[in-house]
């Protein structure tokens, strides 16, 4: 049946021509962000207002994002964390923001101003921020009790079998180093070894379940007594289950900032700058922070959401502790050290 074949060929040829035509009709912005880290409505509104199309893709770790970027993928806006931005700046992989477009930085929260990795916001604008802390069941563990213990609660055999540990080598080593009184950014071998021994002792004492994002629902359901979580996730857990409390331990913790940047190889930097300005606007920042539970980089939004009548009023996890001397941001660490972290962490988890 030649006529059918011809028809099929015509159809294929037509679709080849029309598909690119359809997508060329709009200007495209490629955004690469963490999963579950935005209010989708903000994207839709931006598309409508500017008559463009946003290609929104997700990553689940800074390293994944970095690997993708290395492989040559082109994005217009990325939202990596502090230490990754430090590396990207060092490697000349970012372009400066157009501050004549991104001119609405005056509302930055006090906790996210003047940051080491980019003090003048030349390359980056904070998006959301968080600390690492402990969510615990107040009906099982006395708040005063856990406050007195701090991270040492992870060595307390009374809690054996009732603890979730976040499966992230950097955060696990952070709590060990902090409890031992060292910096989370140490590169001294004896301090790392001490932290490793600390974590092995933890594994033996409490036999935690090593989990990632499933910790959020599990703690909201009150399945265990205690868990190491990010404050943004903790804010959600606390809003779901009123028995849960949040503690930023006295030994100090990690403050993590996720910020918007424009990669050097972006194909539409002009629109990217407009997008960043749009996200920074009060209304949009409010929608995002309210939806995901992580602290906004906008002071006005922070005040609104944590203040009287706000969505996160009285939620201890929403507002990160700012200005505490022992809190640290992560710095970029060399490849060999990262590999060492991984090897040691595998041994901890496998009960070696």
């Amino acid at each position: 049946m030649p006529s059918l074949k011809k028809l099929a060929a015509l159809f294929i040829a037509l679709s080849l021509f029309t598909l690119p035509a359809l997508s060329l009709a709009d200007e495209i912005l490629n955004v690469y962000n963490w999963g579950e880290y935005i209010d989708k409505q903000v994207i839709t509104n931006f598309e409508k207002e500017y008559g463009v199309r946003v290609n929104y893709s997700l990553f689940s770790s800074n390293e994944e994002m970095y690997t993708k970027l290395l492989s040559g993928a082109s994005y217009d806006v990325l939202v990596p964390s502090d230490y990754m931005i430090e590396r990207l700046i060092k490697e000349d992989k970012l372009q400066p923001l157009d501050r004549s477009v991104v001119d609405n930085l005056d509302n930055l929260a006090s906790g996210v101003q003047n940051l080491d990795y980019d003090p003048d916001n030349t390359y980056s604008v904070p998006y959301l921020w968080q600390t690492v802390g402990i969510v615990y069941d107040k009906t099982r563990i006395d708040p005063e009790d856990i406050e007195a213990q701090g991270y040492a609660a992870f060595l307390n055999p009374d809690y054996k079998g009732h603890v979730y540990m976040y499966d992230s080598e950097r955060d696990a080593f952070m709590i060990a180093l902090k409890n031992l009184g060292y910096s989370a950014n140490t590169d001294k071998d004896e301090e790392l070894q001490a932290a490793y021994e600390w974590l092995r002792e933890m594994d033996k004492a409490i036999r935690p379940s090593y989990v990632t994002d499933e910790v959020i629902d599990s703690m909201a359901n009150g399945e265990k007594w205690m868990a190491l979580v990010y404050s943004g996730d903790a804010a959600y857990i606390l809003s779901e289950n009123e028995d849960m409390g949040y503690l930023a331990p006295k030994e100090g913790t990690n403050i993590a900032i996720d910020a918007m940047v424009i990669p050097a190889n972006a194909s539409n930097p002009e629109l990217a700058n407009k997008f960043i300005r749009y996200i920074l606007e009060y209304e949009n920042s409010l929608m995002i922070s309210e939806e995901v539970g992580y602290a906004s980089a906008n002071q006005q939004v922070l005040d609104e959401l944590s203040g009287e009548g706000g969505t996160y009023e009285g939620n201890e996890a929403y507002l990160p502790r700012a200005g505490y001397e022992l809190d640290e941001m992560y710095h970029d660490i060399p490849e060999s050290l990262r590999s060492q972290y991984s090897s040691m962490w595998i041994k901890v988890k496998l009960h070696e």
């Binding site: 390293e63 690997t67 379940s209 990632t212 060999s336 595998i346 988890k349 496998l350 070696e352």
Partner: protein, 259 residues
């Protein structure tokens, strides 16, 4: 003949770009140290001594081989009777049963594994048992279909002949059906053991963070640690294991043919 050979050029190009080139990259990475670009290549065996010198990694390797072996054995134990049962049905029913068997394979493996995660969450089982259940479930259809194909290809007259000569049902099975279905079992083993030994999604989703197989090791060193050199060395070791086990099954196959 010549023009026929020319038709294979696209395939050679394909193999070159997507199989040979990445393999060479893995080789280069595996035998060099971190921070060493390809231009200033410096040969080292460090990555391999690190792997074989560490009892933790050896244990991970052993666990991977053990669970892949157990999965394969159980797939045969469950799959063989099932295949035998199916091939004794009428032709129409056989088609139906094979369709039912392949039906779950149309669904993405990730989704099926997530479903198992939801189910197994309610049971207090060892991580290894959970991973084992997930693997047997996922790979079983491959085994059944392979065995079923080889049994149904068998000449039924052979069974009648065996009965005529006085063999009972059990003896007929042992002397006729089983030997003739060995090729099916062997290709089933290949289709189950190889993906099982390199699986990393199932252990990751069902086993939890303290259950690490060799596929997870590779993922950890590539993604979390950014140590592509050590990750490549592990990949290479695994590739060698896979080649060795393919060679072994082929040898088994040839021996079976001789009988």
């Amino acid at each position: 003949m010549k023009s026929f050979f020319r038709m294979s050029y696209p395939y050679i190009l394909w193999i070159g770009i997507f199989i040979v080139a990445p393999m060479i990259m893995i080789l280069l990475y595996a035998f060099s140290v971190p921070g060493n670009s390809v231009l200033t290549f410096q040969f080292t065996l460090d990555n391999f001594t690190k792997f074989f010198g560490d009892p933790t990694f050896m244990r991970v390797l052993f666990t991977s081989l053990r669970i892949a072996f157990l999965t394969t054995v159980f797939c045969i134990l469950i799959g063989y009777p099932a295949a035998l049962f199916i091939s004794n049905l009428s032709e129409k029913r056989q088609t139906m049963m094979v369709l039912l068997l392949t039906l779950p394979m149309w669904i993405n493996m990730l989704l099926k594994t997530y479903a198992w995660r939801g189910i197994l969450m309610n049971f207090d089982l060892e991580s290894e048992v959970k991973v084992f259940i997930g693997m047997v479930y996922d790979f079983l259809p491959y085994m059944i279909i392979q065995i079923h194909t080889s049994i149904s290809k068998m000449d039924r007259e052979l069974l009648t002949a065996a009965y005529d000569l006085g063999a009972n049902k059990w003896k007929t099975f042992l002397k006729v059906t089983l030997p003739l279905s060995v090729p099916g079992i062997i290709s089933g083993i290949t289709l189950v053991f190889l993906p099982a030994v390199s699986s990393f999604v199932i252990p990751k989703l069902l086993g939890g963070g303290d259950y690490v197989l060799i596929g997870n090791l590779i993922e950890i060193y590539f993604l979390n640690a950014g140590d592509w050199n050590f990750g490549s060395a592990i990949s290479l070791i695994m590739a060698l294991i896979i080649i060795a086990s393919m060679w072994a099954t082929k040898k088994l196959d040839r021996n079976a043919d001789k009988d």
